[in-house]
Symmetry: C2
Subunit: 235 residues, 2 copies
């Protein structure tokens, strides 16, 4: 089988980095796509660059998009990022860190690039188990985007290639994702998941994302390589 191109959405966090490694394992030629979207945690873009290099991609593009223009989220406005929430309660309701239509926008750009690259494969690291309650991380959302993608594009209309949105983590727990990534040789110390890291890139340890990540390492029985900002870690 000839190697095919895939566009992989890469935030620099644990999930998207694992997704990139899985796409590599499946022998795709990798085109990693990241966004500078006004997020507080731009440290994650440095992480994305490190991971893209470590895993080995054909090209890594960082696109500027202005989600701050609309606001509506703790990640793109001056609203405080919630800290110290109980991980078991995170899926009750949609948290304030939800960025309106973010994955829809990210996948739309991925679709544009895929179309230009003549790629019919897009990877996204969404996860419906430990998913923090975001509506656009659910399998039915991914399925609906795939349907849309096949109507939206030349390839879809001409029937030359059915576009597939791969979400290989969708049914995995955080612990399972970590085990998979370790098996694929990922160095998770290169990744960054924190919503509110220090200027040095240290994780706060108490936002939803830090807590889910830490719990994942514990449950996987793997030493957590994350650099935490000691003063911010709850006792």
């Amino acid at each position: 089988m000839a190697t095919r191109n895939a566009v992989v959405l890469l935030s620099g966090g644990l999930d998207s980095s694992t997704t990139l490694a899985i796409a590599k394992e499946q022998r795709f030629r990798l085109y990693a796509l990241s966004f500078r979207y006004g997020q507080r945690h731009q440290v994650e873009l440095q992480a994305a660059t490190r991971i893209a290099q470590a895993i080995g991609v054909e090209e890594h593009r960082i696109i500027d998009i202005d989600l701050r223009a609309f606001g509506g989220s703790a990640l793109t406005s001056d609203i405080d990022v919630p800290k110290g929430r109980n991980p078991n309660e995170m899926s009750d309701g949609i948290p304030i860190t939800y960025v309106p239509a973010r994955n829809t926008i990210f996948l739309s750009y991925a679709l544009a690039w895929a179309e230009v690259l003549k790629s019919s494969d897009i990877f996204i690291g969404v996860n419906a188990i430990d998913y923090s309650g975001y509506p656009d991380c659910r399998p039915e959302f991914i399925q609906a985007f795939q349907t849309l993608a096949n109507l939206a594009t030349k390839a879809g209309v001409e029937g030359t290639a059915a576009i597939m949105i791969h979400a290989p983590l969708v049914d995995l727990t955080k612990a399972e994702i970590i085990k998979k990534g370790i098996a694929l040789g990922i160095d998770y110390s290169l990744t960054s998941s924190c919503y509110d890291p220090s200027a040095l890139g240290e994780a706060c340890g108490s936002c939803d994302s830090c807590q889910l990540r830490r719990k994942g390492f514990e449950e996987a029985g793997v030493a957590d390589p994350t650099r935490y900002c000691v003063s911010q870690v709850p006792a």
Copy 2:
């Protein structure tokens, strides 16, 4: 009935301007959204601003997005815009002026803004009759985006409001659109449809978009108020 907010995609062309007037007629409070996306024809953004002012909107935002980053279209790269094609043959195949995933990206941004505005109504001026062969102007594409939108968002998940993608022009011919717009009082001299206008904003008269527009005015029996660049109009 209380007035509701609607996000209206506004390019500054004939179709989106008519769509804006239709949304106004339906008593929506209007939030117009335009994009600076590396298009050759930035004159259309000036037209969008004029039309937003003339029709009267609550707010008009122009978002910078970089579709040139991906290329793949005569509208966002150095590929020549085709001229002098026969309008009856334009729907055979997808032309080089097609911008990959453009309407998917535009609608995604509209969805983000709608979510922040707590609006469940998005208007887009796509048209499947005189549609120049773009896959993302078809009714099935709009329907698929509506399905996606209701899975992608808080409102969709919480069941508080079903998002509706309004495409009021989808079944109209260009002549019918023009008649509708004239009845609503639109001054079409404010609009700009040309893919390759002169620096002064004059229309070339021979790209697909100019030809469809001109034919529309002829068939509607309405005087065409477009300013053409005389030297470029074919005999």
